[in-house]
């Protein structure tokens, strides 16, 4: 079968915040670059981010990047790599100011500077008191950011392949990455993109769970492709459950609501967070707030006829504040909860939101994997940034507003590294292997010819229910063990999915079947990594690792202060050390401590 081939210096997969930020770096450098994206860029899920992007600008309260770094390391429950965290926090002001120069419509303070609001887990002076660090455009920061980045790419004349779905990574005999295969939605044709460098910026996979704030498109495509190509996935047991998804609908209500003064209440009307986090209260870290909410519900203090949610109350805020700072939230509440938050509290429940783990990278955006004695050997030609990557800055729990920062800093950094590696001659166009497209074509042919197969919708639903039941906010040893068996069974069913629609033109049934292959890789990685980690840390809290005097919060630094690496082949697990050393010698490491808020 003859197959079209396109050749570029660099190919970026994904056009959300990270992909667009990387694209700017490449387009402006003059390298021949293609951006493949399965949706028009401004439809990427960055668009749904609400509350803000972190930067220690100090526009309304004193701040500096050291404090931000401390908060991020603590938020990560010390699983984050301190070199990458230092890099991100130091770069924050630069990338946010750059974005402002691109035209991003940030809200403003009276003195004309960017408006900043408090956010969960962000503090002044190493945990002392809340700080206003979140740079916001009302409660539409992601939308404003994604559009500003897309607009800047229009100016830079970036070449997009819109509605092209990447299928598989192409590696040669040396294991180097030399391109990707992709399907054009409009024609159904598969092509090869041959390149010196491939950057994955494909976002997260929150759709592995039944209840998720994530868009339909968040199917972990890059993560799945990397896993199938033999690249390990790092720390996939760590998933963030956002405290405030609209009960029943899953739609996100930003933490910025609590940043503006919103309060969580149980059925008795009590501000229960005072009991769990006496200092930061409702603005404690997300894992802490989500667990507190579930504890309230489990102990019978939930709200509603089924006592299955709690209430987010902003009725004490002035309507003017709500209309000015949280207009989008008001729209969402009216649309999806049938409630005007000016008049009544919003029913909320913890909802799967963000993938802390992903494709392992260093702070330069290079994908790294164990080779010989070095657990962090760069995979030549392969880069990743944003939610699909694990740098690792979020460790076991991400702080709100650090995801938009992550995609700016590491999107830019990955772009810069690729430019450097190509211009220095380190990366050249290596020949394509003869079988470059065979694997993708075999997947397509299998799907085309499948008879008496399984149903994509049913398999996906089985996966989502399994993940929800066995790997939720609280985790139980027995449920995790059963979960491993269950998810491997679901994975077997996914091997024989069958679609009825065989059209070549914009075949969404085929697209969903291919996406399911990616979701399944992520689900397996999550369940198997979670079952194996016999401690509680950040978002991963299990019944057999309780809070004790010897091991506060159930965290076992003696055995588990390490990153998980999961390999798809044989579901093999490996581990590598956490980097506790900051990037600069002049910066002191943040010493291990017990996490309280």
């Amino acid at each position: 079968m003859k197959i079209a081939k396109h050749t570029y210096d660099a190919v970026i997969v994904g056009a959300g915040g990270a992909g667009l930020r990387a694209a700017l770096q490449l387009s402006e450098s003059g390298l021949k670059t293609a951006v493949l994206t399965k949706v028009f860029p401004t439809r990427s899920h960055t668009v749904a981010a609400q509350g803000g992007v972190a930067a220690s600008l100090g526009n309304s309260t004193e701040d500096n990047w050291h404090w931000h770094m401390y908060d991020t390391v603590k938020g990560s429950d010390w699983l984050g790599d301190q070199d990458a965290i230092e890099f991100m926090c130091r770069k924050a002001n630069e990338v946010v100011v750059e974005l402002e120069h691109y035209g991003m419509p940030f809200d403003r303070l009276d003195n004309g500077k960017i408006y900043q609001r408090p956010f969960g887990g962000h503090s002044q002076n190493y945990g002392q008191s809340p700080v206003s660090r979140s740079c916001a455009a009302a409660d539409r920061t992601g939308h404003a950011m994604l559009h500003a980045l897309y607009q800047r790419n229009v100016r830079a004349k970036t070449q997009f392949y819109v509605e092209w779905m990447a299928l598989d990574l192409i590696r040669d005999a040396d294991g180097d990455v030399v391109g990707v295969t992709a399907m054009e939605m409009e024609t159904g044709e598969v092509s090869i993109f041959h390149a010196k460098a491939v950057i994955f910026a494909t976002g997260g996979a929150g759709r592995i769970y039944y209840s998720s704030t994530n868009a339909f498109i968040n199917t972990g495509d890059g993560v799945g492709m990397a896993a199938r190509a033999g690249v390990p996935l790092e720390d996939m047991e760590f998933w963030q459950f956002h405290p405030t998804g609209v009960a029943g609908a899953g739609v996100l209500i930003t933490e910025g609501v609590r940043g503006e003064g919103g309060i969580l209440r149980n059925a008795a009307g009590e501000r229960f967070m005072e009991r769990y986090a006496p200092n930061l209260k409702d603005l404690a870290s997300r894992d802490v707030v989500s667990r507190s909410m579930v504890t309230e519900i489990n102990e019978g203090r939930g709200c509603g006829p089924d006592k299955d949610h709690v209430l987010l109350d902003i009725t004490h805020l002035s309507p003017e504040t709500i209309m000015k700072r949280l207009p989008g939230i008001r729209e969402i509440s009216i649309q999806f909860a049938g409630i005007d938050p000016i008049k009544a509290p919003i029913p909320v429940v913890p909802t799967c939101h963000y993938q802390m783990g992903g494709i392992p990278t260093n702070y330069k955006g290079q994908v790294v994997a164990p080779k010989g004695d070095n657990p962090n050997t760069p995979v030549t030609g392969f880069y990743a940034a944003g939610e699909c990557a694990c740098a690792s800055v979020h460790g076991a729990n991400r702080l709100g507003t650090n995801s938009l920062l992550d995609l700016l800093v590491f999107g830019k950094s990955a772009g810069e590294t690729v430019v450097e590696d190509i211009q220095s001659g380190n990366l050249r166009l290596k020949p394509l292997p003869d079988d470059a497209a065979d694997f993708s074509l075999a997947r397509m042919a299998r799907l085309e010819n499948q008879k008496d197969g399984t149903n994509v919708h049913e398999v996906r639903l089985a996966m989502q229910r399994t993940m929800q039941k066995h790997a939720g906010v609280f985790r139980f040893s027995e449920l995790l063990q059963q979960g491993v068996t269950a998810i491997l069974e679901v994975a077997e069913q996914a091997k024989t999915t069958e679609i009825k629609d065989k059209s070549m033109v914009w075949n969404t049934a085929r697209m969903e079947a291919l996406e399911l292959d990616n979701l399944i890789e992520v689900a397996k990685a999550t369940m198997i990594s979670a079952e194996a980690r016999k401690e509680s840390r950040g978002a991963h809290v299990r019944d057999d690792a309780p809070d004790t005097a010897e091991f506060p919060n159930g965290r076992r630094d003696d055995e588990w202060l390490k990153h998980t690496l999961w390999y798809s082949e044989g579901n093999r697990l490996d581990y590598k050390p956490v980097n506790l050393q900051p990037m600069s010698e002049s910066v002191d490491p943040i010493a291990l401590a017990t996490r309280t808020y």
Binding site: V39, F40, H101, P105, A144, Q151, V251, Q335, H457, A509
Partner: protein, 236 residues
């Protein structure tokens, strides 16, 4: 809970199989949690996996699932399914070429958006920190920057139907005014020059369909009026 069934009449066309488009009558049973039209469409897709439409965020911010619903453009994810008279008649956005079923080719729409230079122009070397803008100046951008490029407005505009290649259309003009209104942008004159033409701006005859259908409650007609005012003031 009694069973809810919805009747659809859906525009179907697959160039790979169909000689010409047709309207398909089909019904689907809903679950109690299915509230929006998009929920019903997703349910329908389980029944017939060939039903094709775009969707992503399901909360009205990505702009993917714009379609013509009972004769009016809107987003499926923000439309209460129970509020719609049945059968629910779904067609692709009018005026753009259909690729398949409810999926239209938006090339012309984005071409017009790109034609207004939808990015900030300011050739002064940027300061080390943010450019300053007062809260009042920033407020000028409200009602403009929130556009999600769903194309409900432009594809409901008769002037855009007639001259999609020459008339910028409400979405593009809203974006043009978003940059004109931005105190940080220094290309107002060039932007007005770019629109000074019998078609690009002046084909707007204030029919106001755009205002009527915008799922984000934005007002392109007002923005267009402001550009026209600036044009006139510049001329005298």
């Amino acid at each position: 809970m009694s069973k809810r069934t919805v009747q659809f009449k859906i525009y179907r066309y697959d160039p790979d199989r169909d000689e010409k488009p047709y309207m398909q009558d089909i019904s689907v049973d809903l679950e109690p949690s299915d509230k929006k039209l998009l929920d019903a469409l997703v349910r329908l897709k389980v029944k017939d996996d060939s039903t094709s439409f775009r969707r992503s965020c399901r909360e009205g911010v990505c702009g993917s699932d714009a379609m013509n619903i009972n004769g009016k453009n809107g987003l499926a994810c923000l439309t209460d399914v129970d509020s719609l008279p049945q059968p629910i008649v779904l067609r692709p956005l009018p005026g753009l070429p259909v690729i398949r079923d409810l999926i239209v080719d938006m090339t012309q729409f984005f071409k017009q958006y790109n034609s207004i230079k939808p990015y900030l122009v300011n050739d002064n070397p940027p300061p080390e920190r943010e450019r300053l803008q007062s809260p009042e100046e920033r407020e000028e951008l409200n009602g403009l920057y929130e556009c999600i490029l769903c194309a409900c407005c432009s594809t409901s505009c008769p002037s855009f139907w007639w001259n999609p290649d020459k008339f910028v259309g409400p979405a593009g003009l809203l974006a043009a005014y978003r940059f004109i209104a931005d105190t940080r942008d220094e290309a107002t004159n060039e932007r007005l020059d770019n629109l000074e033409d019998p078609y690009r701006l002046f084909r707007c005859h204030t029919i106001m369909n755009c205002v009527d259908v915008c799922p984000k409650s934005l007002n392109p007609t007002r923005a267009i009026g402001k550009i026209k005012d600036m044009m006139v003031r510049r001329a005298v």
